[in-house]
């Protein structure tokens, strides 16, 4: 039964390798990828269900008992993330099949996409901090390849920035690992929990934790480490950016949550550091979006803005704030992916991503506009849609901690999101579009065959339905988030699961 934990990783690995055998057969690749993603969705749901019913479980790789081998742990947070990865992966796989150019598909696009998904699943499930580093390497290299595949000028320009900063993040992570191993002599996170707590040199422990924080902070795009994100996310094809925006910053947030709940404690210093950086992140992201003219850069800044919410939750570290954080994380993964898919459809309709030239979507495609509006509203957190509920918990958490700075900035963040999205709506949906010259060789949305249109919109509809469920079924999501928050505050069950007690 516990072998099920490894299945999401192994399945993606096998799928990615299998796809390599059909390197130039793009049609087969499409079918395999979509079918595989569907199966993966079933696997992830099964794993989620098992853990939801039976509680956390673990498996020791090679049967070397912890802490000597590498442990994989499926606790509620991990399987939730795996499930979200499967949902988003499925949507992006379908979207890729119908939008990514043939040339890119002929150079291993799908294979690398599934390697990326494998890396994500591995990061969520591993219980070993060095192994986490290795999964991060997979994520870094496969995202880099996805970013460059096609070798357009803007892609390469973005890729250089992406790689330089993320490599630096990995170095920080590795430095931290070195120090931690030097101090404790172990790499198993559950084992580290007790050993780090027992260390006397708290200053050094904090320095070590800081390096972890900086490493993950760069990858999560926190202020002032976020600059690489808006400079690279607009470059690759939409499907690629969609999966990046849904999961890459979030896996770093996940790592932060994991490390600062199991290994380190969020003490006064870290609490303040997190909160201060988080509120400036909200501010920077929000005002960054305010001044953008490219629709994808616009959404990129909003990714940054909303990372702040989650870090606030981590900084407050009380049960209600953590529940809000987890809820927000769940909401954010789905909504951000969908937003980029939506931006992709808009670009497909109009042939430009310049918001000054876009327009008329509302008048020409009212039903599409309605569909997109649902996601945009969820993003803002128009109640009772999905972005709203976690904010209530976060605000409550802030009030419980008597930290009104966080309350103020959560409200500010919501407000600025509202304003910028309304502005986007006025520009892209309401306004008459500029006279755009028609690119001869661009496959415009309305020139596509009906079946293809439906296929492109299917993932958007799918993710919108998930988002609507998160909003209207807030009760069940909140129950889940609260359970995870409980597990984050009391990590003893996690440790017991890993150490086999």
């Amino acid at each position: 039964m516990t072998q099920l934990i490894l299945l999401p990783i192994l399945f993606q690995a096998c799928l990615a390798v299998l796809l390599l055998f059909f390197y130039t057969k793009t049609k087969t690749q499409k079918v395999l990828s979509i079918a595989g993603s569907s199966v993966n969705l079933v696997i992830a749901s099964l794993l989620f269900y098992t853990v939801w019913v039976n509680g956390s479980m673990s498996v020791q790789a090679g049967n070397w008992s912890a802490p000597f081998g590498i442990t994989f742990v499926a606790d509620t947070l991990a399987v939730t993330m795996v499930l979200l990865t499967a949902i988003v992966g499925f949507a992006v796989s379908v979207f890729s099949a119908f939008t990514i150019a043939r040339d890119r598909l002929r150079f291993g696009y799908f294979s690398i996409l599934h390697f990326l998904l494998m890396g994500l699943a591995g990061s969520f499930l591993t219980g070993d901090i060095f192994n986490l580093y290795v999964w991060f390497e997979i994520i870094l290299i496969s995202s880099f390849v996805l970013l460059t595949i096609g070798s357009e000028k803007k892609q390469l320009e973005g890729a250089v920035k992406y790689f330089a900063l993320n490599m630096l993040a990995s170095i920080m992570f590795l430095t931290a690992l070195g120090i931690l191993y030097g101090l404790t002599g172990t790499l198993n996170m559950a084992d580290l929990s007790g050993k780090v707590a027992a260390l006397e040199n708290r200053g050094l422990v904090n320095v070590c934790a800081l390096f972890f924080f900086i490493g993950f902070g760069i990858k999560a795009a926190l202020f002032p480490l976020y600059a690489w994100l808006p400079d690279s996310y607009h470059a690759p094809p939409t499907a690629v950016t969609a999966i990046f925006s849904g999961l890459l910053t979030k896996v770093a947030v996940y790592a932060l949550i994991r490390v600062f709940s199991v290994v380190f404690v969020v003490d006064e210093f870290f609490s303040q550091l997190f909160i201060i950086l988080a509120v400036i992140t909200i501010f920077s992201g929000g005002i960054g979006a305010l001044v953008q003219t490219n629709i994808r850069k616009f959404f990129s800044y909003l990714i940054i803005c909303h990372i702040g919410y989650m870090i606030i939750g981590l900084g407050l570290f009380n049960e209600i704030a953590l529940a809000g954080m987890v809820f927000y994380l769940i909401h954010d993964v789905v909504i951000k992916t969908n937003l980029f898919l939506i931006s992709g459809v808009i670009v497909k309709i109009k042939g430009t991503s310049d918001m000054r030239k876009l327009g008329d979507i509302y008048n020409d495609y009212p039903k599409l506009a309605l569909l997109f509006a649902l996601s945009l509203f969820s993003l803002i957190g128009i109640p009772p849609l999905s972005g709203f509920w976690p904010k209530v918990s976060l605000i409550l958490g802030g009030m419980e901690a008597d930290n009104y700075l966080t309350v103020g900035f959560i409200l500010f963040g919501s407000f600025i999101t509202l304003v910028v999205v309304a502005k986007l709506w006025a520009q892209v949906f309401w306004k008459s579009s500029a006279n755009l010259e028609e690119h001869e060789d661009f496959s415009y949305f309305n020139k596509l065959r009906k079946r293809r249109k439906v296929a492109i919109l299917f993932p958007v509809v799918f993710l919108t339905l998930v988002t609507l469920y998160i909003g209207f079924g807030a009760e069940s999501v909140n129950t889940l988030a609260t359970r995870i928050a409980g597990e984050l505050i009391n990590v003893q069950p996690y440790i017991d699961t890993v150490m086999g007690k």
């Binding site: 150019a101 050094l204 309304a422 006025a426």
Partner: protein, 768 residues
């Protein structure tokens, strides 16, 4: 009841798919929804009046304390009847007024959603669901104001109103959560029953800030009023329904609803009275300087909202009674006047009062409606307005020491409002018809003139039969005041000071109406003066904010990788340096220095030399060679410390790296010195600081005891359990085999990536 509230949303969903069927004459069928709802809610009247509130509970997000609890009490009842009743009139009116509009189905969809949200807002007992519906009304309002979405003015007005009401929404969210956090429940009923006294809480002022701020933005109180005149860009039915009769009263509703919880404290009362007072005078004063019918009505609405806030601020039972009656009075006459203005616009093609006159003979029913509404607005007997105004004066006179000033303010406001009502409701119909209009006046269908006429007649009926208003309002006053209050509304009070004040008001109003003529000059004058108003302040500060945003964004995302790296480095140096300085005691044990051998010293000297050459050399190849030397020196150190296998690996890698680099660099153009001395100096400082930081860190780490449990286990069991003779190999392929497997995958992916980088040339047609 849940279904009744949600039916508006369901109807909107139906319209999305079947909306095109309901065009033309069939559009009037949309009115079935509000009419049906009106009848449905009206059927509750006897029960609410006799037996008290009706409560309905539905589970929702119980784990957050958010359930759909609906409470139909006296206060909700008044609002519900207003929302559905006026809604019915507006729905009917729209079918003719908006005839031929391309997106009538959408328009009805928005109106239905608005009605549902508004019903939800006034019926919710849970503070969070109040917020939920509150936000929905703001959003629908955004779409309705921007209905003519291709006009830039409409878009701007929509954004501005959403900005202001959205800000209020955030305040409300903060406020209700804080109230829930202080009071332990989001249910208003439970809060009332629990006896929690908010004014004794330390968060009371903050709660007031949040809640009052929310109410003021929504109900257009000074200085947030400016969005309302802008919102007049919306089609007239929207202005009638949202921006005068119902939505703008949501803030008033909130204040009334929370009065029993938050009221009865000087900070609450004085704030409301001060802002309400300013708003009512400010709004009324501005009507003198407008010529556009809707603009006049917008400012008089602001003024009326000011009166309501002001009355709630007074906080006595008389004041609550006056406020509740005035809500009905205002809703009736203002809705009539808006519909009249819309009808005039529809018939003559203009809303400019300077171009209008003598329309009575073309549209008698509309003229009657306008007259009745203007009379009620003026507070002349026997209209409903007369009752309302009397009650207001009764309330202001009962305020004690300040009564004279307060009453004077109320009188001035009412005089100015009378003027505004006459200009909007009577002036267009009397006098001479301008010549350019003579041939252009179109005939209006009954569907257009009937709704305003019905509402206008109601203004009179409610006045002639005071018991209607009295019995409707009785339970509401009880709900707001928190205890039963005995009162009796009559048309005739006998000769007293209130009658005198009424007389003064009406007389001065007439004088004003005949003395002052609206003119373009006044409009221009006010436009100049508006330069220092809150609107231009908001516009200026939003421009300023955008500038700052641009500067900030450009500073932190300049587009240059070097600055990004610098930002990270400085951050690391700052934060880690701080923690290292505060939390640890880095020291160096000089005693151990003696153990450094001659060979080690020599190697280190070579390393330093290598770094120096690499940094300062003007040639790439020399720098590269120096880096190679550095690498080899590190290998030698490994050898000194008993790790020859590691040294061999490092040696091979270093050699390979240098060779590869030489191959690549050889093809690059000649070395150029692109950075100036200042930036080199800056980079040098950052690099040295970072190096220093790492050095200190390593010194600190080396001073710590080492835990060898893991390595001991590996050394012991590599052969026994894993059957391998080389511990490192066993670790790599067995103990931590997964790491190795994944790292190999990394290599495979890199290979794929390099291949595509080298080989793939995108066709132009494929570029997205």
């Amino acid at each position: 009841m849940l279904f009744a509230i949600l039916i508006g949303f369901l109807w909107a969903c139906v319209l999305v798919f079947a909306g095109t069927q309901l065009k033309g004459r069939a559009a009037i069928l949309n009115a079935i929804v509000p009419v049906g709802l009106f009848v449905y809610f009206a059927s509750f009247i006897p029960e609410v009046l006799n037996n008290g509130p009706i409560l309905k509970t539905y589970q929702w997000v119980s784990s957050m304390g958010v359930d759909l609890n609906f409470n139909l009490d006296g206060l909700s009842l008044i609002f519900v009847l207003m929302i559905t009743g006026i809604g019915a009139m507006v729905f009917i009116y729209t079918s003719a007024y908006m005839k031929g509009s391309a997106h009538l189905d959408r328009f009805y969809g928005y109106l239905s959603m608005f009605m549902a949200s508004m019903l939800g807002l006034v019926l919710s007992d849970n503070l969070i669901t109040v917020f939920v519906f509150w936000e929905l009304t703001s959003v629908v309002s955004f779409f309705l104001i921007g209905y003519n979405s291709r006009q830039e003015d409409s878009r701007k007005a929509a954004l501005m109103s959403l900005g202001v009401t959205g800000l209020g929404g955030m305040l409300l969210l903060g406020g209700v959560i804080l109230m829930g956090s202080v009071g332990g429940s989001y249910s208003i009923q439970e809060l009332l029953n629990s006896g929690v006294v908010f004014s004794e809480s330390s968060s009371y002022i903050l709660i007031l800030f949040f809640i009052i701020g929310a109410a003021f933005t929504k109900s257009a109180q000074f200085p947030f009023h400016f969005w309302l005149p802008l919102a007049m860009k919306a089609p007239t039915p929207v202005s009638t329904y949202l921006h005068s009769a119902t939505m703008v009263k949501a803030g008033i509703y909130l204040l009334l609803r929370l009065s029993p919880l938050l009221g009865n404290d000087p900070s609450w009362n004085n704030t409301l009275m001060a802002f309400g007072g300013i708003t009512m005078l400010y709004g009324a004063w501005h009507t003198l300087f407008r010529t556009d019918l809707k603009s006049i009505l917008a400012y008089s609405t602001i003024s009326a909202l000011g009166i309501l806030t002001f009355l709630i601020g007074i906080g006595s039972e008389e004041a609550f009674l006056a406020a509740l009656i005035f809500i009905l009075v205002h809703a009736l006459y203002k809705a009539t006047l808006f519909l009249v203005a819309g009808s005039i616009d529809k018939a003559s093609g203009t809303r400019d009062i300077l171009k209008l006159g003598g329309l009575a003979k073309y549209m008698i029913p509309v003229a009657i409606a306008g007259f009745l509404a203007a009379v009620s607005n003026a507070g002349m007997p026997p209209s409903f307005g007369f009752l309302g105004k009397d009650l207001i004066y009764e309330a202001t006179l009962g305020t004690g020491t300040m009564a004279i000033f307060i009453t004077a303010a109320a009188v001035i406001t009412n005089v100015l409002l009378l003027y505004a009502g006459f200009v909007a409701g009577i002036k267009p119909f009397v006098g001479r018809l301008p010549e350019e209009l003579v041939d252009d006046v179109r005939k209006l269908s009954p569907v257009i003139w009937l709704p305003p006429l019905i509402l206008g007649v109601l203004c009179l009926v409610f006045g002639l039969f005071p018991f209607i208003g009295e019995s409707l309002v009785r339970p509401a006053v009880e709900a707001v005041a928190g205890e039963p209050y005995d009162f009796h509304i009559k048309l005739w009070h006998g000769f007293n000071i209130i009658l005198l004040l009424s007389g003064i008001t009406i007389a001065s109003g007439f004088v004003l109406y005949f003395l002052i003529r609206p003119s373009q000059k006044k409009v221009d004058l006010m436009e100049k003066a508006d330069f220092i108003g809150p609107l231009s302040f908001t516009q200026l500060s939003s421009i300023g904010f955008e500038r700052i945003s641009l500067m900030w964004t450009r500073f932190f995302t300049s587009g240059y990788v070097r600055y990004y790296l610098i930002a990270v480095m400085i951050f690391v140096i700052g934060v880690v340096g701080y923690e290292l300085f505060i939390g640890t005691h880095v020291y160096m044990d000089f005693a151990t220095l003696k153990e450094v051998s001659f060979y080690e010293m020599g190697t280190i000297l070579i390393m330093i030399l290598g770094i120096g050459v690499a940094v300062f050399s003007p040639s790439r190849l020399t720098a590269l060679a120096a880096l190679g030397v550095l690498g080899y020196a590190i290998c030698i150190i490994f050898v000194f410390y008993g790790a020859p296998d590691l040294a061999m690996t490092q040696f091979a890698i270093d050699t390979l790296t240098v060779i590869l680099f030489v191959l690549v660099l050889y093809r690059l153009p000649k070395y150029l010195k692109l950075s100036d001395t200042r930036s080199r100096f800056r980079d040098g400082v950052i690099a040295i600081s970072f190096g220093l930081l790492i050095t200190l860190l390593i010194l600190e780490v080396l001073g710590q005891p080492v835990n060898r449990e893991l390595s001991a286990y590996y050394a012991e069991n590599a052969y026994l359990l894993a059957k391998g003779k080389n511990v490192v190999n066993v670790i790599l392929v067995d103990f931590r085999g997964i790491d190795t497997m994944v790292e190999i995958t990394v290599l495979a992916i890199s290979a794929l990536g390099v291949y595509s980088l080298l080989k793939l040339q995108m066709q132009k047609s494929d570029i997205e």
